[in-house]
Symmetry: C2
Subunit: 367 residues, 2 copies
């Protein structure tokens, strides 16, 4: 699977679109908001406060309301801190995501977004220049020392590729049999392959950003993670476990081949705080200002029935993973698969309120 | 009609898409190529040759093969001139078009384009950063003094709005009755309204670019124009005249209302060389290096039968104007309208080889 060309949140504004099914990611943004505010404030009050031109990037912006929510939050934070001074600063805002992200839908909403900004912020808004930079953040995206503030939410848990070697057979048996991510039954080599791929990817991410961000510049990164050192705990992989169950139920009914499930593995990894810290130390270009873990309900904490909640969770996951699942299993089984998945999620949530762990990291580029 | 939100070349890669029907615009690009090459060469050999970082923008990039053709031409010209020196220069390439342009299709082709560049140019390609800047070029798009080379082809003949006042009634009669652009039968006030709107738009374009381009930086602009001082000559408006005929034939058959035709006017203007020169002098920020006029066959000069040629012309025009025509007349009549249009074009081309006049302008930002 060519992750960098296939992976995208579901496009458009329809029923299964990411735009309509990304409330959890919106919740994650709102939880990180105070940390974003603080980082912007510290940046603008520091002695490297950008004068003349400030470069801001949102990496993995996706499409839909969350893409604008992030920019709004950053712009609000800038205005709150920056209200009197340096009114002549030009703000260059870059929206990044992979090549197949639905940028058209973002762009169609830009005129309304610009109008709202003008209404709220007045003439000073004239100096905001919003552009899109398609490509993988596991590599260079921007000119050297061109950025002052970088944000990324709900993106860095996606790996650049499925860890190599996972589709190998050990003695005729698939390594991660009947599973699509790390599971309690996965052998150690599967856990190691995932951990190694994350290590490589996150380290390349840090190295690339280190070249692009000016000394004293800041990043706030939020991603799915785990609080335990064991990567097979429920909190970090049970959404995949249930999707594997749904797929295997279709194998039992002869709707898909078992080999097709065995050969699919999600390009995803939920790291621990320690893994993040270790990578940051090894790479060496950034100082950690904050690293916090938050618990998030699978449904974003909505006050709704278990059935409604389970269906919402299934729709949220579908909007995120469908591009990959469809490219491997084909379009035809999607509705059936996610109907089964919704049932399994409802059943699970009626017994246990499993939560995601979201890690939020605020770092400073060393001089 | 909200031109800035509606106008876009037909999206995707289908039969009526701009990607499949933009050979004439490709021909126009190839005619301007020597002028682009010369401008890039002079820029890189001048004493303002950008060191470290060079900003390049293509304004009105559209989607489809032409979007990449322009960047390729500019990159080739840079490599030809720049082969030995300053290998550490970073090139920032900005693709601009209106908010409803199909950027998704461009982005999906970017990985292949990047791979081809890497193959042809080797490692030095690493320093190209391509991004998209959606918005109207009749206004600021980029930070101050951030660009060194600006290109625009087949775009500046589009006005920011339909000239105001054209839908007024004079004594109960529509001003531009039965027509959708300047025509031999149009009263002088229609010609004046179009000329005034072009004057305002082009002047705002120059003023905006003057702020964004560094002193010594260059622009190559190519657009539809005319060689006569009379804006109602066949060479500058007959494609619209025939489209009006097609619409009026549908009025006669009761398929559309006459008032609907009377109230539509194209947001388009084909200026003369003198009008361009006058605006450049009035605005005052740019020196003219070259201004040339080229004749282009309606079908781009293909060696095909009159019928095939007429159909190609009709498809080319449809790919360009359908977004506007559809927003005014509704989706249902599009196939019928452009079938009639193709017949009229075939009939016309069998009697006369009408040509477009394309103006190519190469200018330098004064210090």
């Amino acid at each position: 699977m060519e992750v960098l060309q296939i992976l995208h949140m579901n496009q458009g504004n329809g029923e299964t679109s990411y735009a309509q099914n990304s409330k959890v990611q919106g919740k994650i943004l709102s939880i990180a908001k105070p940390i974003i505010d603080e980082a912007v404030q510290k940046l603008l009050c520091s002695n490297i406060a950008p004068i003349g031109s400030m470069g801001i990037a949102d990496l993995g912006c996706s499409s839909g309301p969350n893409a604008f929510l992030v920019i709004s939050e950053i712009i609000d934070a800038i205005y709150a801190t920056h209200s009197s001074s340096s009114s002549s600063t030009e703000f260059r805002v870059f929206l990044n995501d992979l090549f197949s992200n639905d940028f058209n839908t973002i762009f169609m909403s830009l005129p309304a977004f610009y109008n709202q900004l003008k209404k709220e912020k007045g003439d000073r808004f004239e100096s905001f220049f919003i552009s899109a930079v398609p490509g993988s953040f596991y590599g260079r995206l921007f000119p050297a020392k061109s950025l002052h503030f970088v944000h990324s939410s709900s993106s860095l848990h996606w790996l650049s590729q499925v860890p190599p070697g996972l589709d190998c057979q050990a003695g005729g048996r698939a390594l991660n049999k009947g599973k699509i991510y790390i599971s309690k039954t996965s052998p150690q080599c599967v856990l190691d392959a995932y951990s190694l791929q994350f290590h490589k990817d996150f380290s390349l991410f840090l190295k690339s950003r280190a070249e692009e961000i000016v000394g004293g510049g800041r990043m706030v990164l939020s991603l799915m993670g785990r609080s335990s050192s064991d990567p097979s705990t429920q909190e970090s992989c049970y959404q995949w476990e249930l999707l594997a169950h749904a797929l295997m139920s279709m194998v039992l009914e002869g709707l898909i081949e078992e080999e097709t499930v065995d050969s699919f593995n999600a390009p995803y990894y939920a790291p621990s705080e320690e893994e993040l810290k270790l990578e940051l130390e090894n790479e060496g270009s950034f100082t950690v200002d904050r690293l916090e873990a938050f618990e998030i309900d699978w449904d974003g904490g909505a006050e709704i029935s278990v059935v409604a909640s389970g269906q919402r969770v299934a729709k949220t996951i579908r909007a995120v993973v469908e591009s990959m699942i469809e490219s491997h299993f084909g379009k035809d089984i999607m509705d059936d698969l996610f109907r089964r998945y919704a049932e399994l999620v409802v059943d699970h949530l009626s017994k246990s309120r499993t939560k995601y762990i979201n890690l939020v990291l605020s770092v400073i580029r060393k001089d």
